[in-house]
């Protein structure tokens, strides 16, 4: 493969990949080129400290803030758009398993986190002209269950189209999406009857571009989500600086407060919270501790179907959407974030 040295080279390479896939889709009914993946990253580091998930970054010549990876075993496969200060985008041409592995390792670095997409972020295109939802993933892990045997796990991935054939599926999906956390949503854009873009977004800030006709349209759709997330972070940060009000998480499922207390005391579970209970009533507990993703301080007051989050000092406000997403998928179902009664990260 030709070395990618400029943003123009990158776009050419991506466009060729999209066209190959369109061609093979037409001839064989499936795609063969690796699908483009994008990861939204919340960064509190300068690029020099953040480093690169595989190899080192080299600036793409005809651009500002764009980099490609070199020097590693898998050079020319990761591309960074760092044009936004706080929210970066990494595009990956690796296959999904490799890509997720390198990103996961890199994101263990202090000062880096994923962008945790709320339900409203994932459903962003719902009311946009030309866009239609083509699939939905729901998840509930019952992460507070005492043992796996008795855990009430639930996961569902439905690709629309099936609802035309299966009677009653629409109703089931609508009810389920009101009770459980959404962890993925697939969207399709059509122009004049033709599919011009198809992508799947995940709650951990990852996107897969399944089909695209135009590279710029594909990159803009990813950048649009990055901009929305950057705006949400800025708004939340201002609220934190200006007031002392807490972020409120409202859950659709009641949680077992004793199980929550035991789990967070050990720092285990997907939530990665290490907390000490400081006040306890049957239906309300107060906790103080740290968010093990960043080791920032966190104060949490938890009721059966809600939680308040306070992040003192310079702690990263990305904790609010992270905890909302992870707790929703782990044990709390559909979760919304509010500040002073107004939905945020929306």
């Amino acid at each position: 493969m030709r070395e990618i040295k400029t943003l123009g080279d990158l776009k050419e390479r991506l466009q060729a990949g999209f066209e190959n896939n369109e061609e093979s889709l037409e001839i064989f009914g499936k795609t063969y080129s690796t699908q483009l993946k994008a990861y939204l990253i919340e960064s509190n580091l300068p690029l020099t400290d953040a480093g690169c998930p595989e190899g080192n970054w080299r600036k793409l010549d005809d651009s500002v803030g764009w980099y490609g990876n070199i020097d590693g075993d898998l050079s020319n496969t990761l591309f960074l758009d760092s044009t936004r200060e706080r929210v970066w985008i990494i595009y990956s041409l690796m296959d999904a398993t490799e890509s997720d592995f390198f990103m996961g390792k890199w994101l263990e670095r202090k000062g880096l986190d994923r962008c945790w997409l709320s339900r409203n972020h994932l459903l962003h295109w719902e009311k946009k002209e030309s866009w239609s939802q083509r699939g939905l993933g729901l998840k509930f892990s019952d992460g507070l269950a005492q043992d796996e045997e008795n855990a009430a796990n639930f996961s569902l991935k439905a690709y629309y189209g099936a609802n035309k054939l299966i009677k009653g599926l629409d109703r089931v999906l609508n009810e389920a999406r009101e009770e459980f956390a959404i962890y993925s949503a697939r969207w399709q854009k059509r122009t004049e009857g033709e599919v011009v873009l198809s992508s799947e977004w995940y709650s951990n800030g990852k996107a897969t571009i399944n089909r695209a006709l135009d590279v710029d349209e594909a990159l803009i759709s990813v950048a649009e989500m990055a901009n929305r997330y950057a705006d949400s972070l800025k708004e939340a940060n201002e609220l934190r600086e200006k007031t002392m009000g807490a972020f409120e998480l409202d859950f659709s499922q009641e949680i077992d407060l004793d199980a929550f207390s035991k789990k967070v005391a050990t720092g285990t579970g997907d939530m990665k919270l290490w907390l000490v209970e400081t006040e306890s009533e049957d239906d309300f507990r107060r906790f103080r501790g740290v968010d093990l993703h960043t080791w920032d301080r966190i104060l949490m007051d938890v009721g059966k179907d809600f939680a308040y989050i306070t992040v003192p000092g310079k702690g990263c406000i990305n904790a609010a959407p992270r905890i909302a997403t992870l707790q929703g998928e782990d044990n709390a179902g559909k979760t919304s974030i509010y500040h002073d009664g107004v939905e945020v990260f929306a």
Partner: protein, 283 residues
């Protein structure tokens, strides 16, 4: 259940009166009256004298000076001094400007005679006294409404401040340090000096406190940290080169984290018998 953090709860329950929470249907009377606030910011009188009340707040219908106190002595003289704060500085903090004098309210847990000034009581349920002193009719209506419904303040969220200058109660100080101590166990942590711990606990009140008061609070923090190291986390935590640090013995494992959390809870919870050392720093 541990005894409630007295001063922190006073601050928490007062601050949250400016906020709203959906699930519990809580709307604080100051929020309902449309007031925004700043905490501990410097103001001047028309004569150029400095005044720095705990909270200054303003909305379209008027503005308000709020003093929070756990002191058993009257605050009447102090409150009187706030009457002359020059309203033209409100704009410096993005607050709604006014030309009229402020309403003045003292927030307490229990009744102490503050003369004729309006008082709010924020222990478990909202209460109000001398409301006739409030000039702003809109605010007065919301305060009376909150009193009438017995607004429940028992399950409001914590605020980011965990230490306060006047703190003396051992459990209050220890609880205010819990998560600051937990951060010492972070991989590659450089540790924290006693003054860093105080500053982190004071958060945005860091400028409120004078040098002497800060040193007094730091001494209390050092005292309680010594008890933690000697009696609860011996072997896991040490004080070396003027900083608290995790020892090499500490290895991050869920059993160790659980054990540390349990010992912190034991240290910060109500102890059945207070030691003589504990009493030394208790009012």
């Amino acid at each position: 259940m541990p005894e409630k953090d007295y001063r922190i709860a006073l601050w928490r329950n007062t601050i949250q009166l400016f906020h709203e929470y959906k699930k519990s249907n809580f709307i604080g009377p100051f929020k309902a009256a449309g007031f925004n606030y700043v905490v501990d910011r410097p103001f001047l009188t028309r004569q150029g004298e400095s005044r720095q009340p705990d909270i200054i707040s303003s909305g379209e219908t008027g503005w308000l000076v709020l003093e929070l106190t756990a002191n058993q002595k009257s605050k009447e003289a102090q409150l009187e001094k706030y009457k002359t704060i020059d309203s033209r500085y409100l704009g410096n903090y993005g607050l709604y400007p006014h030309e009229s004098p402020p309403d003045i309210i003292c927030s307490r847990f229990d009744f102490v005679d503050d003369g004729s000034f309006c008082q709010i009581f924020v222990k478990d349920f909202f209460d109000l006294k001398n409301e006739e002193q409030i000039e702003n009719q809109h605010l007065k209506t919301e305060l009376i409404k909150a009193k009438g419904m017995g607004l429940d303040l028992r399950k409001l969220p914590e605020i980011p401040i965990t230490l306060l200058p006047e703190m003396n109660n051992p459990q209050e100080i220890r609880r205010g340090l819990i998560e600051i101590v937990m951060q010492l166990f972070a991989p590659n942590s450089d540790g924290k000096t006693p003054i860093q711990m105080v500053d982190e606990g004071l958060e945005r009140l860091i400028d409120k406190i004078g040098v002497n008061e800060k040193h007094a609070l730091m001494d209390r923090v050092k005292f309680h940290m010594e008890i933690l190291i000697d009696n609860h986390l011996s072997g896991y935590l040490e004080f070396k080169d003027n900083a608290y640090r995790a020892t090499d013995k500490f290895k991050q494992h869920h059993k160790t984290l659980e054990s540390v959390a349990s010992r912190l809870k034991e240290w910060a919870g109500p102890s059945p018998q207070r030691t003589l050392e504990d009493e030394r720093f208790k009012r």
